[in-house]
């Protein structure tokens, strides 16, 4: 064995812009998404959904459907009563959880409510059969609007409850009444945060297959949480968990909408077990927009107390969250996250929040990218701007004034969270420099002198992610990872994280390559199959790298420690004298070196292992973080509004984000860009529209508008890196940052542009129509 004379480069992967290892299959069309799966004898299911927001079902006639050749079965509510309802993980003391059956019983509660399912040999036949089912609905009174739902004497969504309150939650910190007494200025606003369709380009889908001999149920689902889904399905179907295998194939985007447990998953499982044939159900786009839990859905009323010098004193908030007719998995939890994050990046002395979740005859709401944090950041960033305008202070200055200093960390927020680390002013200054804030303000002055509507919008946002720790996370906040160095020297990494576009196959391979000193090509990252990997919680809340990566980091350390011990034994030296660098074990005591592959082979052949050690070169670790991580950043948007048409031209968009330590800057940029697109959507285009009959009016992509390439501005990104102390990698998370940070910058920019007209707030989405309305109303008065 040769002695290396030059020191190997220690870290060649972490921190580098490395193109993704998952991409070859994705760019060649060889990846296998849910709808690409076929199983021998597979049947196809279609779901009939209610056209009414509230109705009694008097009868359902299925004979015509059953008579169609190729139709195997039709199921209605009573056929599937043995299956447990759709689960909800909330735990408020007054939480009301109505029975959320997987197919409607004698009532429907929202448009899109599943009423019956057809199973046929072909999806064309299933679609034909759906049309042949006759349902005798008797429409009943309904309540579509959440504010109306809470009024005295409102129609009750669930007749078994005395009112439409699904749950309440309150939180208080400091003496808020005193703060309001001391205030020089109090600003108030009512802000609507509309319902958003998460809209991954791949809709939901499930394939269920039952092996009667092995009694094993295999569920392929386009999910972010295969293990949690396995647990819930086992409960719903009353099966031992080890008889249920969940596989998440290639998942075509989730954005939180696939971090759920859906009626159709249990339905497909039930059908496969009943018919003893595999069955596939793939959602249509129309179903997706209609029933895939919408995000946000807030009506917020805020009051902010401050001193004339801009010092923030206290905040009062009332959140009304429209949860729809039923809970999904995390429905009640999401708005509580908004409450917790409401103080934003600021040193508030006091705080009081009341949250009410209201039942309405609409589809359920639940998590969507950012889940609670965009709602919080949006309203606080709007209120800070409103205060700045009120007291005539520059919106940048008022933010600097109220940031905690970098030396104040860990910093305790008014809501009792402990922010792990931060340097808010540095990130903000960087953004101001990039956009050249002073020059932009001068430009604004010149534009205004010409009567043009030019705006500069600032958002300094903070967020909470890397979900753990477990006591604060409903399903557990830990994650698992296994590393197995195979006899060939190749390495398999098994993770409980279940990525769907984030690129963890690459970032986990980067961590592994550096820790083991081997090329990334020698590493396989395995995920998304409950039969292949240890129990994990899943991918949401930017926990992939911080929690899953940390578990991997620990497992890699174990593997290296084990291998070092073997290597020392093989070289006949003390383990303490062995160093491991660049994949090579060496010891000053001898001239010889060993590669990881040499050691791995020996660990498998076990010819000369030290006495008392276990064979193999593998390790499994579970990681539990000590706290959440708190990324932050500053986004600045420059716009000009067309006075006559209400169109907005976004001239600049600067995003400086701090997501802690960075494993792959290329992937981080991608997350930021995509996140910003999902802040731009709600700012200008998105929002489902319900009428007062509970009908969703923009149910296709012809009417529901998500950003297209031409809607997006060029995004100028930069970053600061403040490591997090709550996990060994120092990472924080970046999946939600763009979505959370950008929305307020867009809105503040447009409001700033419109402010010469006396406009102080405009609700989202700020469509050209709504901006035109605002301008038009002003110019009339």
């Amino acid at each position: 064995m040769a002695t290396t004379t030059t020191a190997p480069k220690l870290k060649t992967h972490v921190g580098e812009r490395i193109r993704r290892t998952e991409d070859p299959r994705l760019i060649t069309g060889t990846a296998c998404y849910l709808d690409d799966i076929t199983r021998p004898g597979m049947l196809h299911a279609a779901v009939l959904r209610s056209p009414y927001a509230a109705a009694r079902i008097n009868s359902i006639s299925i004979e015509d459907a059953l008579a169609l050749p190729g139709v195997k079965a039709v199921y209605v509510g009573k056929d599937v009563e043995s299956v447990g309802g759709v689960p909800c993980a909330g735990s408020m003391p007054d939480l009301r959880i109505p029975n959320h059956k997987i197919l409607a019983g004698d009532r429907v509660y929202y448009v899109g409510h599943p009423v019956a399912a057809v199973v046929a040999t072909d999806k064309y036949i299933a679609a034909d059969a759906i049309e042949r089912i006759e349902v005798d609905y008797e429409p009943t009174e309904l309540v579509s609007d959440p504010e109306e739902a809470l009024q005295e004497g409102a129609v009750k969504v669930h007749p078994e409850y005395p009112d439409n309150v699904a749950f309440t939650f309150s939180q208080e910190g400091g003496d808020v009444e005193e703060a309001f007494r001391q205030a020089d200025v109090i600003v108030k606003e009512k802000i609507l945060v509309p319902r958003l369709a998460p809209l991954p380009i791949e809709t939901r889908g499930v394939v269920a297959e039952y092996d009667e001999g092995a009694q094993e149920l295999t569920i392929y689902s386009s999910t972010q949480i295969p293990h949690l889904l396995r647990t819930q399905l086992a409960l719903q179907l009353n099966l031992p968990e080890h008889h249920v295998r969940v596989i998440a194939p290639e998942v075509g985007g989730g954005f939180g909408s696939k971090c759920n447990v859906w009626a159709e998953e249990a339905l497909a499982a039930f059908v496969a077990m009943e018919l003893k044939q595999p069955v596939k159900w793939v959602e249509s786009r129309r179903e997706s927009i209609l029933v895939v839990a919408h995000g946000r859905a807030h009506v917020d009323t805020l009051e902010l107390a401050a001193k004339n010098d801009g010092t923030l004193l206290g905040l009062k908030l009332h959140i009304l969250c429209d949860i729809g007719a039923h809970h999904q998995l995390l429905t009640p939890i999401i708005p509580t996250l908004a409450v917790l994050m409401l103080p934003g990046l600021y040193k508030f002395r006091s705080f009081k929040a009341d949250l009410i979740g209201a039942f309405t005859n609409r589809a359920p709401s639940d998590l969507y990218r950012g889940a609670g944090r965009p709602e919080a950041t949006y309203v606080i960033e709007r209120m800070v701007d409103k205060l700045a305008a009120e007291i005539g202070m520059d919106p940048a200055e008022i933010r600097f004034k109220n940031f905690p200093a970098s030396t104040d960390f860990p910093f305790n927020s008014a809501t009792g969270l402990q922010y792990d680390s931060g340097d808010y002013a540095t990130a903000f200054n960087k953004a101001l420099d990039i956009v050249d804030y002073k020059a932009r303000r001068a430009e604004q002055e010149a534009a205004r002198a010409e009567g043009r509507l030019y705006g500069i919008g600032i958002s300094t946002y903070g967020e909470i992610c890397a979900f753990g720790p477990s006591p604060a996370t409903p399903a557990g906040g830990w994650e698992s990872a296994s590393v197995n160095v195979e006899a060939t020297g190749k390495v398999a990494v098994m993770t409980g994280i279940s990525p769907h576009g984030q690129g963890e196959e690459t970032s986990f391979a980067q961590l592994t390559a550096d820790a083991l000193g081997i090329p990334m090509d020698d590493i396989v990252v395995v995920h998304g199959d409950t039969a292949k990997v240890h129990y994990g919680i899943g991918t949401f809340g930017s926990r992939g790298i911080s929690i899953g990566g940390s578990a991997l980091h620990l497992a890699l350390q174990d593997v290296v420690a084990k291998a070092t011990k073997y290597a020392a034994h093989m070289m006949g030296v003390d383990a303490e004298t062995v160093t491991f660098e660049g994949g090579v074990f060496s010891s000053e005591a001898t001239d010889s070196t060993l590669t990881l592959a040499d050691v791995a082979l020996e660990a498998h052949l076990c010819r000369q292992l030290p006495p008392g050690t276990e064979p193999g070169l593998a390790a499994t670790r579970f990681f539990e973080p000590s706290n959440f991580a708190f990324p932050f950043g500053a986004h600045i948007c420059v716009t000009e509004v067309d006075k006559e048409t209400g169109e907005v031209d976004i001239q600049r968009f600067v995003a400086v984000d701090d997501c802690g330590r960075i494993i792959n800057p290329l992937l981080v940029e991608g997350q930021i860009h995509g996140g910003i697109a999902q802040g731009l959507g709600p700012a200008f285009q998105e929002g489902v529209i319900y009428d007062d009959e509970g009908q969703l009016l923009n149910g296709t992509l012809m009417d529901y508008s998500i950003p297209k390439a031409r809607n997006m501005p060029w995004i100028e990104t930069d970053r600061t890196e403040t490591p997090s102390p709550v996990n060994p990698l120092g990472t924080k998370g970046v999946g939600e940052a763009g979505t959370i940070g950008s929305l307020p910058a867009f809105v503040n920019s447009v409001v700033d542009a419109l402010s010469p007209l006396g406009i102080e707030h405009i609700d989202i989405p700020m469509t050209s129509q709504s901006i035109w309305n605002a301008i038009h109303e002003r110019s009339r008065t």
Binding site: K123, Y124, A127, D128, E131, S284, R285, R286, E644, T645, G646, E647, Q685, I689, L697, N698, L701, M702, D703, Y704, S705, I706, K708, N711, T767, S768, Q769, W772, N773, H776
Partner: protein, 284 residues
């Protein structure tokens, strides 16, 4: 989403197609970019589709004697990229470039679009400003009618049962006439909320020729005669354009939907008309 069953024929001659259309429940397929989505949503359930795609004589752009004839099955992409049109009828070529997206333009046809009569389609604004005509053929003969008469109402034309739209006729653009098309689109569908097409001739600082047509505003695209009258013979300047454009939605029953109120559409009609006039004046 899956269409209900239907029969399909792809005749190779027009007469064969006309024969097949004799069946009342038959429907012409001319590209299908509007029809196929409706089939999939099962909002349309014809018994038979008669696909015109394999009839060779329906895909052409030809000029003769000052009239450009465009075969019904000519795609938007072909119109957009035709040298003949770029030179002789630029308004139509640039309007085609606004339709849908590349894939839709590769597949959708001018005949299909005009016969579908969507009140927010782009073509009609240009075609009305061009005083276009359409050729309709039936088993018993053929007729050429002005587009203005052909378009009856939203999604409704004067096409009779058993009749096929085979050609669209537009004039070779006059010398000295500049054109422009301005739209504000509904961001999801790409359809025009308001689209304004203008043809403008100016001599000695005065408007010598003007045609203005709008789409998206009412249930039927229309010539804005009041705007034209206000401009004709008068000065070609910003004030005159603004004053005339204010008449853009005059006497029109303006549509209102979840994307744009009637008041907003009416205001946009004036703004986009004025801007299109300015564009045309600027490019002349």
């Amino acid at each position: 989403m899956i269409p209900a069953s239907f029969d399909y024929s792809a005749p190779e001659t027009l007469s064969e197609a006309l024969q097949l259309l004799g069946d009342e429940e038959a429907k012409v397929l001319a590209g299908g970019q509007s029809l196929i989505p409706m089939l999939k949503l099962r909002l349309a359930q014809p018994a038979r589709l008669v696909d015109l795609d394999r009839i060779p004589d329906l895909n052409f752009i030809a000029e003769d004697n000052g009239t450009i004839r465009i075969g019904a099955m000519t795609t938007h992409h072909q119109v957009e990229s035709s040298d003949l049109l770029a030179e002789n009828c630029p308004l139509l070529a640039k309007t085609a470039a606004h339709i849908g997206d590349v894939q839709v333009r590769n597949r959708g046809t001018i005949g299909g679009s005009v016969a579908h009569a969507d009140p927010a389609a782009d073509y009609p604004a240009a075609l009305l400003a061009l005083e276009a005509q359409v050729k309709l053929v039936s088993a018993s003969g053929e007729r050429v009618v002005a587009l203005d008469e052909f378009l009856v109402d939203a999604l409704t034309t004067s096409l009779e049962d058993g009749e096929i739209l085979t050609e669209v006729h537009v004039p070779v653009e006059q010398a000295g006439v500049a054109t422009a098309y301005r739209t504000l689109i509904q961001p999801a569908s790409g359809f025009a909320i308001v689209g304004a097409a203008v043809r403008l001739g100016v001599s000695n600082g005065n408007v010598s020729f003007v045609r203005v047509a709008l789409t998206g505003v009412g249930s039927k695209p229309y010539r804005a005669s009041a705007v034209e009258q206000a401009l004709e013979g008068g000065p070609a300047n910003a004030e005159a354009f603004a004053a005339a454009a204010a008449h853009a939605a005059e006497d029109v029953d303006v549509l209102s939907d979840i994307h744009a109120s009637a008041a907003y559409r009416a205001s946009l009609a004036a703004v986009q008309t004025r801007r299109a006039l300015e564009d045309a004046a600027g490019s002349a």
